[in-house]
Symmetry: D2
Subunit: 494 residues, 4 copies
C-alpha cells in the first residue's frame, strides 16, 4: 500500500480544507465586531478575504455534497473555438498537455465537495461524454456522486435543439430535479480558474439570496456577453445589463471602477457563474420567463425585476475565459510561465483531475527544453523546445525547433515510432508528429496532425485571420492552428 | 439518468445525517444548561441521546474523512466459526443471503464518512481480499478513500504470524502511519450492528480522551474476553478487567448493573471497539508495552495503569457478536423477523454495501414463502419456505420444505438448472442445491452443497455438538452445519 | 477468491464456445463433400445447423474482437412504446425485473466477443447513456472494448436530428470509422433473443458478402417495415421489398413460405439486422445514396440494385421484436413460463449483463407465489402473486393479488418501507408500491408508481386502446399501463 | 469518443496478433514438408521462428483465455533486491519511471490473452496487493478475468510460511483449482521480457507435453539456481540439473552450446518458467513429491524421473532476470538506450500496463536532457540529465547534474514544489527530491528520498559492496542505493 495509494492526484491533505460546515466556529469570533466594521469598500464577500457576514450559523445548512448540484455547460455558442471544435465539444479540447478543457471546472467541483455534476451539451456530445465518463466515474462513484452528460434530445414535448443556456435548463429540469438538492451551481465549462465553491455557497446561504452571481474584480477586457453588475453597499445587485455592441468593451475602465469603489454603487463584471436556489430556477424558467433563452440577457435582469434577492460574490483570483483561440492559447501559456504561475497543476490540495492513463515515460534523446511542459509518453529526439506545451505521445524529429506553441499530441503510437528518427525510408508517408528539421512558432497543432520535414510554421506573412482549412490550417489572432489529423507536407512554409 | 442512478444502495439522503462538524450549532443551544443538568445517571454519552458535553466546539476538528482510519480485524481466534471458516476468512462468510460478514462493519464506516479502511487478516486472506476489493473499490475510490487488506507477511524484521490484535497493529504500524490521520478506530469485523461512528469520534474529541472504548449496555451473555469496564461519574474508565474463567459469565447480573447506575461507579461490558489517538497507539505498542499482544488483556489495562485518559462511550442499539455458530445463526435470523427487525437492510439512510452483482431475478414456480429472505437469482420450484435465509442462486427442488435455516446458495449456475425440476435422468450426479422432497430444519447449508432428494436434515438425534466432517457436516449448538461443497446423498437422514 | 469471483454473471465456461477462428478444423472435415451435398432446401447457413460453406479458411480472418463493431440503435420510431418512453429512451425501459431492454442485444455482443459497441440515440438519451456506462464500463474495459453512446448532436455541418437509421450512421461515420474494423454489425436495440453473432460473421466472411441480412424463419406476424427477402438457391438476396400497407401482414402465409422452400426462390422476413463491410457502408451512405435515410426502404434495395453481394443468414431461434406494448408485455411473460422457456436468463454460458447492484435480498412475509420472477430487494407482505414480473424494490401490501402483470419496481426505498404494512397512519400519502388489498391483472406498472389500497387494475370496461394519461395510465392492446411515478388513489377501479 | 478512447495503452491493433487458434491454417501449409525438413539444429520451437510441429490441429484446443491460468511469484528469495524490498514486495519495486517490476510479466499475460492471474506472495504483500488491484482490476474485469493476490496465510491445516515456490502452489492448490483451467503457467515476477505465451501454449499442446520449460538461448551469466536442461533432438528434456556452486557459471560456454547444436543433445538454460498441465501439478505436489519445495531442485528433476513428458521451448528474445541490484539497474538502463532498444515500452501491439494515473505534465524550466526517460508530473529546473530514469513527481533543483542513474520519484507533491527552486527559506527542512547543485552518478535513488543541496552521490571511494543503511544508503555492485525516504543532508559526498 504505502507507496502506492498515492498515485492518484489528491492524496495527503495534511491541511485539508474544512468543508463548509467547519467554518462555523471561526466565524463566531467575528460576530461581535461585524456591524461596526463594515465599510463600503470592503463589502464584498471575497474568496481571498475572511468571511464577513456570518449572520446565519452555517452549520444549520446541509452538507454541500448532499445539497448542491453543478450544471456545467459543455459547449458554448457554436464556433468561437473553431476549428478545435470541428470534431469535438468545447469541453473535450485538449488543454495543457494532459487535460481537457472541462477538467478545470469539474475539478473545482470535486475539490469543493460537489459531487453531483450534470454536463449539458449539444455539439459533438460524444467526445465530451466519453471523456467525462472515463475520467470521473471512478472519482465520483463514491456514495452518491456522478457526472451525467445530458445531450440535447428529442422527446414528444421538445423537438428542437437547446436555444440557449436557460432553454437547456428548462428542458432538462425534470432530470435535474430528480435529485433533491437545494441549489444549482451554473458553470460555463470553458473557464480556467481555481476556486473553492464552498465559500460562494456559504455566502449565498448566509445572505439568504435567491441568486448569487460570481463577479470578477480582475479588470480587463471582459466578455461583454456576460454582463455588468451594479451593486449597492449591501452587496445586492441593483442592476444587470449587457454591454451594447456600440459601447466599447473597455468603456468600464479600470479607473472608473476604482473610483466607484468609494461611492454608493459599484460596477463589476459578471463571470457567468450563478448559484441559484432550486425552486427559484423552476419558477424563473417555467413561470416567470417561459420564453427566456439566456441567463445574462433575460433571466438575471428578469429576476431582479421581479424583486428577487440577487447578490454578488467577488472572485479575485486568476480566471481565464477561453472564449477565443487567443484566450485558449493564453490559458495554455499560463501553465509554463517561469514565475508567478497563476494556475497551478501541481498543488496537492486542489488537484486537477482528468482521464487516468498509463502511458510510458517520455523518452528524450537529446533535447534542450525550457519553460515547457511535456505530457506523458512523448518521444523527443534531438531538438529544441522553448515555451511549449507538448501533449501526450508527441513525437518530435531530429533538428526540430518548437517555440511558443501548443502541440496537442497523438492518440496512438505508430509502428516504428521509436526508430523513426533519422534516416528512415524516404518513400514513407508522413507520420503523425513533428518531422525532422521543422520549425514551429506561435502555433497550435491539433491532435494527430502529421507535420512533415523541413516545414516552417511561422505565420510568415504575418496574417491575423485566415481560413486555409483546405490546406489543413487556419490562422486566428495571428496564431496558426493546424487541424486535427491534418497533413502538412515536407518543406511547407506557412 | 433519472431512474437509473439510484440502483446503488445509497441514493436519496433527503435527511442526510449531518457530518460531525455540522453538530456545532445544535450543541450551542444546550451550552447554557449544561453544567446544571448533569446527573450521575445520565453521564454517558450515548448514541441515542442528545450530546451532553460539547465543551469543545467540534467544528475546530478536522473532518472525519481526513482524520480517522478504521482498522478492521478480518478474522478472530482461529476456529470459533469453524467449519464456515474452513476455506475462507471469517469476514468472508456469507451473511443474510446477499452479504458477507464483514460488510456490516465496513458499511458502518462508509456511512460514518470514514473512508480509509485497513483490514488486517492472516487466515485464508485471499477470500477476504477478493471480496473487499471487488465490493468497495468503487464506493471508496473517491478523493482519497481505500480499503486495504493487510495480510500477515514476512519481512526481514518480522518472521512470524500476528500474535494477537496488538501485535498485528504493531507490525503493520509503518503501513498504518503512512496516512496522517488523528485517530484509529479499531473494529472487530464479525459484529452485526449499525452505528454512526461520528458520534463516538465527537465524544472522544470533546473529552480529549486518549482512548475511548465502546461499551454495550445491552445486558446479556457477553463475550468474557472483551472485558468489563468500571467507570466513574465522569465517564472515565477506572478499571478494566477480563472476567476470569471461573467467574460465571452471568455474574454481572442485569440487576447488579441496574443498581450500580445510581452509585458512584458502574460496571459495563466492553464491545472490543476502540478509538485511539494515533500517537497513543505508537507509544503504547512500541514504547510502553512492546511485548503486549492483546487489547483487552494487556494494552487497555496497561494504558489505564500509565494514567492515560481512557473513556467509555455507551452504545445501546442492537449488536450481535457473531463469535459462535449459534450467534451467527441468530444474527441471520434477525433479518427475517416478522416484527421489530433490529438490523434493517432496507434503510436508505444507512445502506449495507457489498459486492455488486447482476444476477437474474429469482424464479419462483410455485411456493409458499413466509418470514424469509430470498437472495438474487434463485430458482425455486414447488416448495415451502418458512423462516429461512435463501442465498444467491439457490436451487430448491419440488416438494422441498425448509424451515428456520440458512441456505448460503451457490457460486454458479449449473447446466439445466432451469429444467432440473421433476423427473430428470436418474443416473445424474446430485446437483448443487436442495433436492426434491428434502426437508431441512434449523440448519446452515454452506455454499455449493449438494443436498440430494428425500434428505432430512433435522438433527434427528437431537445432538448438541457433533463432528461428522467426514460425512460433510458438523453439529454445533444443536445446529446442523453442512460444509461448503459437501454432498449429502439421496435419502440421508441427519 | 474462490467462492467470490463468481458473483459476476459469466464465470465457469466449462464448455466455452469456441471463438470464430476455432471453427476452422471442424470445417475442414466437410470440405470434400461440399459441392456434391448441396440441396436447395438446406442452402441457408443457419445458426442451429452445421456450417456448410467453409470455402474460405476462417482462420485467415482477424479475430472478432478486433475487427467488428456493433452499432446498436437505442431507440426507434418515436412513440411505439409510449408511455414507457415518456421519460426514457427505448433501450432504458426496465425488462424482466432486473434488466433494461437494451441489455439483451448488448449481452449478445459481449457473449459473441464483440466489444466495440456504439449506441446511437436521440430520444431522451441521458437515460440510456447512464445505464450503458454504468452497466458495461467494467465488463468492456478490457483491452480495447467500449460502449459509446452517440447522441444526436449539432455540428457546423449537421444541424438537424437524425432522419433515420441510415442518416444516423452517415452523420456519425467519422466517429464510427475512427477504429479500423472490417465490418459493422447493425442491431436494433429492442429485440429479445440470444445469438452468437460469430456464426453470422463467419458466414458473411466465407461467402465474401458485402452485406448479410439476418432473416427469421419464425413464421409469424412480422413487422412489415423490416422487409421481405427473396433469395435464390445460392443464398443470395435477389429482391428486397417492404410490404405495402395494403398488403396484409399475413399475406406471406406460412404455407406459402413452406412451399417456396422447394422451389428455386424463397421468401423470408428480414429481422433488421445487418452485417456490412466497413467500406461498403461508407460507399453506400455517402456515394451511392447520399439522400437515403432508411435501411429497409432505401439502402438495402439500393445495394442490390448496384450489384452488391447481399446474402441472407437465417436465424431460427426465439426472437421477439418489442415494437409495441403488447410485444413488450409478451417478452416479459416469456421469462416466467412454466415450461419451455425460450429466453433463458439463467444460462451460465450466455449470461445477460446489466447494471450491477447490491440490494438486500427480497423479504417475503407470507406469500403464495407461482410462475413469477422476483427482482432484487423487494418487500412482499401477505399476498398472492401469479404470473408476474416483480421488479427491483417493489413493495407489495397485505392482501394484494397480482396476476399476469409486469411491476417495474422502485428506484428508492422509502422511510418505513419495512414497517409500512398493516395499520399505519391513515393520513399518510400513498407510498410507492402496491397498496393493501389491491388487485392487478394484465397490467404494466411503470417505475415508482404509487398504487393505493383497495385499487383494482383489471381493465374493467375491457377497453382495447385508451388514453387516460391525465389519470396516470393508458390502455394499449388491452393492457393497462400505469405511468412512471403515477398516483392511483385508494379505491380506484380501472 | 474518437480522440478519446485511445488513451489507454492498447488502442489500435491494426495488425492484431492472431490468437492461438488462428494459427491453424498457416500451419496447414507446412504439414506436408514437415517430416522431411527436420534437421537437428532447428528442432526447437522458438518464438521467432515458424511453428514446426503442428501435428495436432490447434483449433481443437480451448481458447487460452478460458483454459490457462498464470501463477506469478511476486517475490523471490528474501533479500536479493534489498534494500529496494525493505518496505515492499519485489513485484512492487518501481521500474522505468512509470511502472512496477511485476508489470512486465502481467502485461505479457494480458497481451497473450491470459486473463486469470494469481500472484503468490508472502513478503510485504500489501504493497503488491495494492498495486495489482488498482492497476489491473479495470483491464481484467472483462468477462472472467482477474488478478488475485494470494498472500501466505494460516489455516487449520497449514501454520507456516511458504517454504518455496512448490510449497506455495501446494498450499494454494485448493484456490488455484477452483477455476477449471487446463494448464498453469508458472512465472517468476521479476523478469523483464516480452513474449506471446500463446506460442508456448500451442507448442505444449501440440507436443502433448506434461510440462514445458521455457529455456533461454541468450548465452550469458545465467542464474545457476534456475537449472540446466539437456534436450534431445525431439526437443524433450532428458536431464535437468542445478549447476553446482563449484562449477563456474560460465562453464557452459557459448562456444560449447553452439557446438552442441549439431550433436544429438544440447544443453540450454532454464528460465524458471513452466507450463504444466493442471492435473500434473496436483499429482506432482501432492502424490509424487509431497515434500518438495522447489521447482528447479526437486519437482522438475522428479517429474523427469517419473517418466513424465517434459519438453523445452526456446525463447531467444531480450530477457533480463532482475535477481540482483545490478541486474535491476541494467534492466532500467535498457529503457533509455540510444539505439537497439530491446524492451520497447512504446509498442502499441504489446503495451505495458500499470496503475493508471492522472498527473500533470512534466514541467521543465531549463534543462539539457539526453538518453533519458522522464516520468509523469516531474518538476525539473535548470539542470543536466544524461542516461537517467526520472520517476514520477521527481523534483530536480537548479544546477543539479544526474547521470547514469535511476531516480524513482515521489509519491506526493509537497507544498511549494513549484516555487521551491532557487533562494527559498534557508531554515527549511530538506524537501523530497534532488537539491540544488547536487551531482548523482550511477546511483539508484528510491522513492521519497530527500537529497540535499551540493550533495555528490558518486561513490567517491569506489566501493563495490557496502552497508551504510544507518546513513540512508547501501552500495551494491558499485551502485549507490539511497533508501526510500532517506535524508542525505546538504553537502554530503558519498
Amino acid at each position: 500500500m504505502v507507496a502506492l495509494h498515492l498515485s492518484f492526484p489528491t492524496t495527503f491533505n495534511h491541511q485539508a480544507k474544512l468543508p463548509i460546515q467547519g467554518l462555523a466556529s471561526s466565524r463566531q469570533k467575528h460576530v461581535s465586531k461585524l456591524h461596526s466594521s463594515i465599510s463600503p469598500g470592503c463589502l464584498f464577500i471575497c474568496n481571498s478575504e475572511q468571511l464577513q457576514h456570518p449572520t446565519n450559523p452555517i452549520s444549520l445548512f446541509p452538507p454541500v455534497d448532499q445539497s448542491v448540484a453543478a450544471i456545467v455547460f459543455g459547449d458554448g455558442s457554436e464556433s468561437r473555438l473553431y476549428p478545435l471544435t470541428k470534431r469535438r465539444s468545447e469541453g473535450a479540447i485538449p488543454l495543457a498537455a494532459n487535460y481537457r478543457l472541462i477538467d478545470a471546472v469539474v475539478s473545482n467541483c470535486i475539490n469543493s465537495n460537489i459531487n453531483k455534476i450534470y454536463a449539458l451539451t449539444q455539439f459533438n456530445s460524444t467526445s465530451l461524454n466519453c471523456h467525462l465518463s472515463r475520467a470521473y466515474s471512478g472519482v465520483l462513484r463514491g456514495k452518491d456522486g456522478f457526472v451525467e452528460v445530458i445531450a440535447a434530445y428529442q422527446s414528444p414535448q421538445d423537438q428542437g435543439w437547446f436555444q440557449g443556456n436557460v432553454d437547456a435548463i428548462r428542458r432538462c429540469l425534470w432530470v435535474l430535479e430528480e435529485f433533491p438538492v437545494d441549489e444549482f451551481l451554473v458553470l460555463p465549462g470553458h473557464h480556467l480558474y481555481k476556486m473553492d465553491y464552498q465559500k460562494l455557497i456559504e455566502a449565498h446561504r448566509n445572505r439568504k439570496a435567491d441568486i448569487t452571481i460570481m463577479a470578477s474584480s480582475a479588470i480587463r477586457d471582459q466578455d461583454p456577453g456576460l454582463g455588468l453588475l451594479k451593486v449597492n453597499t449591501e452587496n445586492q445587485v441593483i442592476d444587470f445589463r449587457i454591454k451594447s455592441d456600440r459601447e466599447p468593451a473597455s468603456s468600464i475602465s479600470a479607473e472608473a471602477l476604482r473610483r466607484s469603489r468609494n461611492s454608493t454603487y459599484e460596477n463589476i463584471s459578471s463571470m457567468g457563474i450563478y448559484l441559484i436556489n432550486r425552486e427559484v430556477v423552476a419558477r424563473l424558467v417555467n413561470e416567470h420567463f417561459p420564453e427566456a433563452n439566456d441567463f445574462a440577457n433575460e433571466l438575471i435582469p428578469g429576476a431582479i425585476s421581479t424583486g428577487m434577492k440577487v447578490e454578488a460574490y467577488r472572485f479575485d483570483g486568476y480566471w481565464e475565459d477561453m472564449r477565443s483561440i487567443e484566450a485558449f492559447y493564453q490559458a495554455n501559456m499560463e501553465c509554463i510561465k517561469k514565475s508567478n504561475i497563476r494556475y497551478n497543476f501541481y498543488d496537492r490540495d486542489s488537484p486537477v483531475y482528468t482521464m487516468p492513463r498509463c502511458l510510458p515515460p517520455s523518452l528524450i534523446r537529446d533535447a534542450e527544453i525550457s519553460d515547457s511542459v511535456i505530457g506523458d509518453g512523448c518521444i523527443i529526439n534531438r531538438c529544441k523546445i522553448k515555451g511549449a506545451i507538448v501533449g501526450m505521445r508527441t513525437r518530435i524529429g531530429d533538428g526540430a525547433a518548437i517555440q511558443d506553441s501548443v502541440i496537442m499530441g497523438s492518440d496512438i503510437y505508430q509502428k516504428n515510432d521509436i526508430e523513426s528518427s533519422g534516416n528512415e525510408g524516404q518513400a514513407k508517408a508522413t507520420p503523425v508528429g513533428i518531422g525532422e528539421d521543422t520549425q514551429i512558432r506561435k502555433a497550435i497543432i491539433d491532435k494527430n496532425a502529421r507535420i512533415g520535414k523541413n516545414v516552417m510554421i511561422i505565420n510568415k506573412d504575418n496574417v491575423h485571420e485566415g481560413d486555409r482549412e483546405g490546406n489543413g490550417y487556419i490562422i486566428s489572432g495571428g496564431i496558426v492552428v493546424v487541424l486535427q489529423g491534418a497533413l502538412i507536407p515536407d518543406g511547407t512554409i506557412l
